[in-house]
Structures are given as C-alpha cells and as structure tokens.
C-alpha cells in the first residue's frame, strides 16, 4: 500500500512531539542545535 507522504509527515511529526512531551527528547536525549 502506498502511504500519502503528507499524512506520513504529519504522523511522524506528532510521534516526535509526543516523545518530547513524554520527556524522551530534551530530557533523556538532549537536542541542541
């Protein structure tokens, strides 16, 4: 099945946001730029 790239981007972005809110990124894995 071909997944629409737009929806895939939205899903990945919200998974990343959820991981930040759960403290995985930022607290456990520092993100600096």
């Amino acid at each position: 099945m071909k997944i629409n790239e737009d929806w895939l981007a939205v899903i990945i972005a919200f998974v990343l946001i959820a991981l930040v809110m759960a403290g995985v990124f930022g607290k456990m894995i520092p993100i600096s730029f």
């Binding site: 895939l8 981007a9 919200f14 990343l16 946001i17 809110m21 990124f25 993100i31 600096s32 730029f33």
Partner: protein, 354 residues
C-alpha cells in the same frame, strides 16, 4: 523480488548517508557560529540550511564519482523531511500570530500567484517553451518550488526530466537568494514582518524561505513560514485549474475529469498538521519548554531536507534542455522579487502591520 530488496537496502543506505551528512552540517554550523566573517557578517548569519545543502552537494559529487548515487537515491526524501519540519514548526507558532498574519498572507498569496503565474506563462510562450514545461515552471515560481512543481507535473502529466529540470533550477536559484535576500532586507532596513513576508512570497522553495527567515530573525522566520504555508495551501487551487485547462483545452483526449475530490487529493495535508500543532501550542497543551525542544527537532528535519536537496541536484539534466528555460526562469525570478517586495511592503508594512 531482488529489485525490491535492492530498493529497500538502497533506501536504508541512503538514509544513513543523509543522517551522516546532516551531522557533518550540524558540526560545521557549530564551528561557523563562533566565527566573525569578512564585511562584518556574523557567523550566525550563515545558518544551518546553507551548510546542509553544501554537505549534500559534497555527498552528491562523491556518490556520483563512485557510481553509487542511483542505488541510494530512494533514501533522499527531501519533501518528507520538509513537511515533518513544517508540522514541528507549527508547535512553536502561537495561533495569535497565525490569525493576525492570515488575512495579509492570503491577500499577498493571491496577488503574487496570479501575477507571477501569468507573467511566467506569457513569457515562456514568447520563448517557445513546451506547454507542460510552461505549466510546471509557472507553478513552481509562483507558488513554492519543489512541491508545486511536482503537483503541477501531476496535473498536466509532465515528463520526469521537465520536473527534474525545474526542481534543479529552483534549488540553484533559491540557495543564493536565501543568503542574499536577508542581506538586502537588512540593508534596506525592512521590519521583521515585511522582510518575512518578502521571503515568503518571493523565494521559491519552502526550505529556503525558512532559511532566509532564520538568518534574519525569529519573527521573520515565523511570518515567512506563515506566508509560504498560505501560498502552499493554494497549490490545490492552481493544480485544479491547471488540470482542468490541460484536460479541457490542451489534451482533450485524455479522460481525466477534474473534481472537488482532485483539489482535496492535491491539498497539502501537512498544512493541517501545522495548524493542529499550532493550536496545541496556543492553548498550552504543548508547554514553552517542550516547544523549545521541538524547535531543535525541527532544525534537524530541515537539515535533513537540505542535505537531500544538495544530494538530488543534477547539472547534467540542465545541460540537456538548453538555456532558454533558464533565461525565462531568471527573468521571472527578478520580476517575482521586485513585485514581492512591493506587495510585502504594502500589505505587511502599510495595510496590515503585524
């Protein structure tokens, strides 16, 4: 089966290369930030998108020399990384900014897209370019480069090399503009919002718009992204009318009947993600602290996108198609730049100052 296995391993290998080059770009960015450059330019002005694109170009040259480029290409996902970055960007934009800029950006988007599209269509006709190439180029310059070029190519069933040609031109022109536009805006003393609206309405690729905004200021980056996102949201409308024109006038034999469903299918869905992320931030579901971390992730996503842009640049395809499309592209870009400056100043400086 073997082909599929090759494409999967090529995808993974490509992704590993993109990550490696992104880390290299991040490291260079950190070094350059500490420098003081000639002409009084602070090192910070040369932000991460530039180094990411250069790292991508370096990878491009090496991979082609090793004849490894085509194999790992499935891992170069420019648009995907760009869209992930744009949704993450939403998590740092308060809805108050979005609504205050919305009216101005919709107005600016409509004026710019209409004028630039028809100027490019007319001029490319004078130069005798192929109708499909005209459609892809006009959409790419008037809306947002790579994704608009892809959407327009789908609507008019353009040839793959025409899309690659326009995409390469878009990238080549957008990269210097990304650095020059903020310098010019600074020299003219433009306010953050006028400068942001100018970058958003003028520079062709979304990533370069964000790059130019980043170089200027945080507020310019936000306004530039909002103006660009509004303009991108109009891709569906333009591709709908293009598809209609090509089906009804240019290629009546091909049986595609454009419908409202077509607009929805071609509507850039990541814009919805941007708005939802922005609402979550506005209503405090995403805290300021989390937003700062998400901002770091957004920078990584854009770095990946720029590395992919550098990796996908193809000078060979450009040579094959001759110089007249380049001439048209450059003339229209100058027209776009001047018109964009006037419209941004009028709307964001005089009518709806943000």
């Amino acid at each position: 089966m073997d082909e599929r296995k090759n494409s999967t391993t090529g995808f993974i290998a490509g992704l590993v290369i993109v990550v490696g080059l992104a880390v290299l770009a991040w490291w260079i960015t950190k070094q350059v930030y500490a420098l003081k450059l000639p002409l009084g330019i602070p090192g910070k002005a040369l932000e991460y998108p530039l180094w990411a694109a250069l790292a991508g170009l370096l990878g491009n040259v090496i991979l082609k020399a090793l004849k490894f480029h085509a194999y790992v290409r499935p891992g170069f996902r420019t648009e995907l990384f760009l869209k992930i970055g744009l949704v993450l960007l939403g998590a740092g934009v308060s809805f108050a900014t979005l609504t205050s800029a919305a009216l101005g950006s919709v107005l600016q988007g409509l004026i710019m897209i209409t004028c630039v599209f028809f100027f490019c269509w007319w001029l490319s006709g004078k130069f005798g370019l192929d109708d499909k190439l005209r459609a892809v180029m006009s959409t790419a310059i008037s809306i947002c480069g790579v994704s608009a070029a892809i959407a327009a190519a789908g609507a008019v069933a353009a040839k793959k090399e025409q899309v690659t040609y326009i995409t390469s031109l878009v990238i080549i022109v957008a990269l210097p503009l990304m650095v020059i536009a903020p310098l010019l805006a600074g020299a003219m003393g433009l306010s953050d919002s006028v400068a942001g609206a100018w970058f958003g309405g003028n520079i062709d690729t979304t990533a370069a718009v964000v790059g130019a905004g980043t170089i200027y200021s945080t507020k310019a980056q936000q306004i530039a992204s909002i103006v660009k996102s509004t303009q991108n949201a109009l891709i569906g409308v333009v591709t709908f009318f293009l598809a209609l024109y090509f089906v009804v006038v240019v290629e009546r034999k091909q049986g595609e009947r454009p419908s409202p469903k077509l607009i929805w299918e071609r509507f850039p869905k990541f814009v919805l993600g941007f708005i939802v992320a922005s609402l979550l931030f506005t209503f405090g579901v995403i805290s300021k602290e989390a937003s700062a971390t998400i901002d770091g992730l957004k920078n990584w996503a854009f770095t990946f996108a720029f590395v992919c842009m550098g990796l996908e640049l193809s000078l060979g395809d450009l040579k094959q198609m001759g110089w007249s499309p380049v001439a048209v592209f450059l003339i229209v870009t100058v027209f776009n730049t001047l018109l964009g400056l006037g419209v941004a100043w009028l709307i964001f400086g005089a009518l709806f100052p943000v």
